[in-house]
């Protein structure tokens, strides 16, 4: 399937933010996390986000899709693509953004 996304990018050095468009071919079983992986691999190695278990238990890939908090490993993209929708992906709220999809998550200062 052909997936289109808009991703809020954040440059840690300059502090610049930019909503960037991405399009990529993905298998129909892909979830949002799989799509981000394909983009990072094939189009933009600087895209930053956390991931680990990819089975809804660890919480690493928490981010926002159209303003709603989601686990990227849980959100199947097929129904979104079938609706012709282009979701906007951004970092979790409540904590300062480190880079792209990654908010600060730890006690570290």
């Amino acid at each position: 399937m052909h997936v289109a996304l808009k991703i809020w990018r954040y440059d840690a050095d300059s502090g610049d933010r930019e909503l960037r468009d991405y399009e990529i071919e993905a298998p129909e079983w892909a979830c949002l996390l799989d799509v981000l992986d394909l983009i990072k691999d094939q189009q933009d190695g600087t895209l930053a986000y956390r991931k680990s278990c990819r089975m809804m238990i660890c919480g690493s890939c928490g981010m926002r899709m159209d303003g709603r908090a989601v686990l990227a490993c849980k959100e199947r993209m097929l129904p979104i693509v079938e609706r012709g929708h282009v979701p906007v992906i951004s970092a979790m709220g409540n904590m300062p953004i480190v880079k792209d999809r990654s908010s600060r998550s730890s006690r570290r200062t």
Partner: protein
Amino acid sequence: MEAKHDVLIVGAGCAGMRAAIEAFDAGADVALLSKIHPVRSHSGAAEGGINAALGNASEDDPEKHAFDTVKGSDYLGDQDAIEVLCNEAPDDVYQLEHWGAVFSRTEDGRIAQRPFGAAGEPRTAYAADITGHVLVHVLYEQVMKRDIQTYEEYFAWQLVINDDRCQGVIAWDLLNGGLKTIGAKTVILATGGAGRLYVGTTNAYACTGDGMTMALRAGVPLKDMEMMQFHPTTLAPTGILITEGTRGEGAYLLNSEGDRFLERYAPNAMELASRDVISRAEQTEIDEGRGVDGNVLLDMRHLGAEKIIERLHGTRELAMTYAGVDPIHDPIPVRPGAHYHMGGVDTDLDGRTELEGLYAAGECACVSVHGANRLGGNALMETITYGKRAGRHAADWALTHTTIEVPESVEADAERDLKILLDRTDGERPWSIRNELAETMHENFGVFRKEDQMREQGEIVSGLRERYEHVVVEDKGDVFNNDLTQALELGFLLELAQCMVVCGLARKESRGAHARPYDYPDRDDENYLRHTLVRWIAEAPVLDWKPVTMTKWQPMERTY
């Protein structure tokens, strides 16, 4: 040097955190270092439970537990290590309970125990089907309570070896960038497995064998690396885990003809035979045309909605999300997937490696408790019991030794090597190498192994390693550069793959997870009742052997 500690633990899953707590309570200055937040560790994805002979569901004792484990290991497990595990397990589980682990209960309020594969008694304590998640959180509470320093999102890359001792770790600071050296009198590796060697795996993205390869590069041998367990019930296409607890609760495995095919492979234990036996049975059914789109079917409909929702709630959610199937109404398509490395860093009963000051515990270690095939529920138990033992010994050693010295040249060498990688702008990015490695390992080093395929895999991995020498990291930034850490992880995986192939070719028999039905279909105790050892010498794996420790059980025919 950034900081110094008595005991530095790399990896903050169950083994790492249990080691940290024990070392702290022994009076040591302890720190944890992990590339992800501790509660995101893959221990948290363990579902089914933790084995201890509590005797709450039947007459049970540690000796029965030990025998089941020895037999399950296809006699490759070291029996002294297994006896230690099984004897200490009950107290270690009660310790977790006292710390607040919310185990599922019997009617009269004791810790409930469910049947599990190849276990003679219902011995697996559990918290519904999220046991690992519960344990990770309980251990993290104890870490917080002790205010143990945690280097979160530090990616450990190299061990510091000086004066023939391990004296710390060099890590990449993910949040801020830059290499940081943490000195330590003792280092405990607790970095988990390397399931990412395979395209279909239950393992998290984080499971890239970091600790195993760091030890290997430091001259420490790895043991039984050919022994990769394939779990019988994983979801296509990516290998997400469906717990053995489903079969513990009574689920059936069916082929395309609706037969409970295990009748023909394990007529007594049926769905509760050991994992190697069931994975081979499934693969045979699939290969002989009795599969369903490359899967068999896990049927739990007869358990009823109430039991499924109460005890297997997480499993139901996984099946609905990733397979589009509600197991209350339909069977789940499942197939074997890479799950657990029985092999790992060679250690003694206190987690000590050959290198002074270096310890290992949990999946990244090989004591060896699991031998050629691990029993479900024994991995979590090993993380707790051997995490505790490694933590205690490392603390005792550290408290009687005083100096930490990291020569400037060690840090300078690491900086130089990293700069070479980051400065490279022209060449291939790592992802296609990573994908080819995972696909070919699955194809050529899977449930069944053939001599020619293993040889071919050795050549493939050599070729991939050559390509890796010229790999390019696209992200040159300091902040959250996981483009860099993913490239370093691939380097870890490639060396492990080469070790596995060398060990697999050398073991000319079928034992546990290492099945060679085409040329060596039988177990050969005369020649191969011994561990493979592999060392890294001049950029290549070199094979050696090590005897198996036997205490009271002589090898017998293994049927279920």
